[in-house]
Symmetry: C2
Subunit: 505 residues, 2 copies
């Protein structure tokens, strides 16, 4: 039995892995055999709408099946799908499809091992403790939202304690809350405990009050005992897949837990991380938050998925896909176009390749992955495998810590959305919101400029109007929200609607 | 490997058992070796307050440890504690204490294998589907409450869709919702599906609309895949314990799932079922709902737990404990008084035994179970073991199906609380509420009198004023609520406050 097995327990149809314990063991035992796998991102074109993915999970699954068929020890790290959304039928699951499927997609889609439910219970308990602190006059206002795993448009704005204090609240989807972010970013239960302690519960006499000032932190960490452990499952072809945390790169950080990726890298040579929705969301956040600010690995390559139709059908949006591919290349990340064909599209392959060549892409990978799974890819991966294997683990570009927050946002708009600083505009109220955030941080003895920036926007747009001509595209800054425990500042941008609490469609 | 093992999967520190599958197999294979265990209830005096138990779970654990030490194959079936309440510190866990403890009490108390969280997600999804049905003009009003596992007093009354439709709603604790009742009472996933289909979603043009009229039932049952399976754990002494569903016998049925008990009976000779809060709550519901109406086994004996202090300290409430013991005896259930001593009370044993003798109780069982566990009991169980072993499985008294609902409630008040029919009074509005319930059932093509009655009341009182002299004690009927899917009619009674959504204390 390997040391790893000591950290694994069966959990119904899954295994759960004590990644904190295993990585801690490896750190304390540098001679223990381990791998130093490379991270590859599977990301995508900006989707035409959030409910219609390009097939990132399907690609991820097919890719590791194909790599393993070529004798490479590859594994995938997936984000846990948001159960409510899937169960409600608003969106397909995020567990692949057809021949590129997981063994138990219905269980992955619909609750996994209860991780998000436990995070929801813990976040809602924080709100309940804050409410008690109001009763006890330790707090005047509450700053943390309640969460729900079930989408329900009427929860966007609620009033609690109806008929008495009539307190306005909002409810957000569990995966988007600060506690989920904390679980994603933390490398030990102590770190989680410290970060929860630093979460701002609300205000008393105009000053921020942290949860650490009045709650027993063990009540929260106890609830998270199993939730912090990544789940392990397999593809239908038997390839290893880890699933943990993190959907919704539009309104949150939207990445799997850092320890799930690090554990996979200690176990496999190539670790494929799904980063969606599009390159402007999940990949941007992996690169600029996880890697630059939280010690995650810079990817050795990226696969950028699109559909034949997404790429071409809307001439005004056709700029986005090449923008993403070239942006990744400009960061030194070999970016492989992957065109995920639907039924009846096989005859378009030649034309798609010509178009890719015209755009100076690398040779694209093309296939119907739902129908053919990894078989569609196995003979198209020479360039990809060479890119991943020929270099060492890339170094990470510098942190943005200390960069003025406004400069930071302008840099994101420029590099990730192609909008220069002069067309990043501030909506009425943004300056005040920013000032409040700075004041809050100052009251906490911190500097807002040291926080990592989370862009909050529609998953389907990068700018105020992606269909506008390039020279008139703009980004509007709307408001700022501080997540002091996670060390993140969320900036709402673009004029498109973001709906953290979707309705059932 | 026994057939049973085919229905067992490891789930972290627990095992989960596919009780539906196992019991179905046994039914189809009458020659398969199995046991026909007897059910014993561990119930209690009415607590002085809900947050202070008498030690039912501690007694249950000590009892099976002691029975097994005597060579009897005993097991316990516990209700899953309400995680939010425990985590919030409002109440001790429900997993025993001291030497009478489970191996993983912190996991049992704080989420088990995610069963309640899954039920919460499914019930909240039903509400979200109902909301969509309102948008689609298939419903005018919604009849099902949202649920939360986290207590929060300000969720008792909320308004959703604030600023637009401002819809008043209430949120209840997960274990008290109709879907939990359905999981408790059902013996197959098909039965769950049928019962969910029959739940009343709301009204359209004054007529009730069932969920089966507009939702895909598999979306709900998929979420419940693992939640319907009882969890298996052990006491510190290695005795078998099944945990599944069902706290809150004050505001709901408050019993473990029927299949968890039936499975335990197929595996063990004596199955100890915890039925609290007091005899007037959990035991009344086990006898009058589970056994009389839903095919559960009538108990072969009962242990009625009290503390020395609960029994005696308040002279005006001293009548309750003997009332409970004598009531169970009057139903033909051998009722053994059990006095659970706290530290410093060992010198009271003689006096307590004299008092028991004076009250014509059976010889009481006395011990400090937190300190001594099953060791305190092992030599005091001769009478109990004889009572359980000397007779066959008792027959169940007749069903009350068809009894007029008002008669039915009066019968409960008389038999379970000692209040005769003439002092069961109706508060303003009760008649209208009852009339509405009858009309609702008629519109569903059913008869309200065929439903089982769930008394909803404070856990700490049986009457409007338990401290009043016997001849003036009354029960006030407040309102009626139909749970058509579960086949239950809930009747709120007594003038004491019931708080289905408690606050953190």
């Amino acid at each position: 039995m390997s040391v790893y097995e000591n950290y694994v327990t069966q959990f119904g149809s899954f295994k759960k892995i004590d990644a904190f314990g295993y990585l801690d063991y490896l750190e304390g035992h540098p001679d223990e055999p381990r791998k130093h796998g490379k991270v590859v991102l599977v990301t995508a074109d900006t989707p035409l709408k959030a409910s219609r993915g390009e097939g990132k999970t399907t690609t991820t699954i097919a890719l590791i099946d194909a790599l393993r068929a070529r004798g490479i020890d590859a594994a995938a790290v997936l984000r846990q799908p948001s159960m409510g959304i899937t169960a409600a039928g608003s969106k397909g699951g995020a567990s692949g499809g057809g021949k590129a499927s997981l063994t138990h997609p219905e269980l992955v889609d619909w609750g996994l091992c209860g991780e998000m439910a436990a995070i929801a219970a813990a976040q809602n308990l924080l709100v309940a403790f804050a409410e008690k602190a109001v009763d006890d006059e330790r707090l005047d206002t509450i700053a943390v939202p309640r969460v729900s795993e079930t989408p329900s448009r009427s929860l966007r704005r609620v009033r609690v304690d109806d008929g008495k204090n009539n307190i306005a609240e909002r409810v957000v989807l569990t995966p988007t809350c600060e506690l989920t972010q904390i679980v994603v970013l933390s490398r030990s239960m102590d770190e989680i405990s410290n970060r929860v302690s630093n979460m701002v519960a609300g205000e008393k006499d105009g000053q921020p009050v942290r949860f650490g000032d009045f709650i027993d932190l063990w009540r929260i960490t106890n609830i998270l005992t199993e939730a912090v452990k990544p789940a392990y499952t397999e593809t239908m072809q038997g390839s290893p897949v880890y699933v943990h945390c993190g959907p919704f790169a539009n309104v949150s950080i939207g990445i799997p837990s850092l320890v799930s990726v690090e554990m996979a890298c200690a176990r496999h040579d190539v670790v494929v991380v799904e980063a969606g929705y599009g390159t402007d969301a999940g990949a941007q956040k992996w690169l600029d938050i996880a890697a630059r600010e939280y010690g995650a690995q810079w990817p050795s390559a990226a696969i950028v998925v699109t559909r034949a139709t997404t790429w071409r059908d809307d001439p005004t949006l056709r700029w986005r896909y090449p923008f993403h591919v070239h942006r990744l290349e400009s960061l030194g990340i070999p970016a492989f176009p992957m065109i995920n064909l639907w039924d009846g599209e096989d005859d378009q392959v030649l034309e798609l390749r010509q178009q890719a060549s015209h755009l100076k892409f690398r040779e694209p990978i093309v296939g119907n992955l739902f129908r053919d799974g990894g078989d569609a890819l196995v003979n198209q991966l020479d360039g990809f495998v060479a890119a991943v294997q020929n270099e060492g683990i890339p170094s990470v570009p510098g942190s943005h810590k200390g960069m003025d927050i406004l400069e930071h946002v302008r840099w994101i708009a420029d590099s990730a959305y192609g909008v220069p600083a002069e067309r990043v505009v501030m909506r009425d109220g943004f300056s005040e919101s920013l000032q409040d955030a700075r004041a809050l941080c100052a009251a906490l003895g911190q500097d807002l400029n040291d926080y990592a920036v989370v862009a909050v926007k529609s998953p389907a747009t990068m700018t105020d109007n992606d269909s506008a001509p390039e020279e008139s595209r703009s980004v509007t800054l709307k408001k700022v929200e501080v997540h002091a425990g996670a060390g993140l500042v969320q900036v709402n941008l673009t004029s498109s609607l973001t709906t953290p609490m979707p309705k059932i469609v």
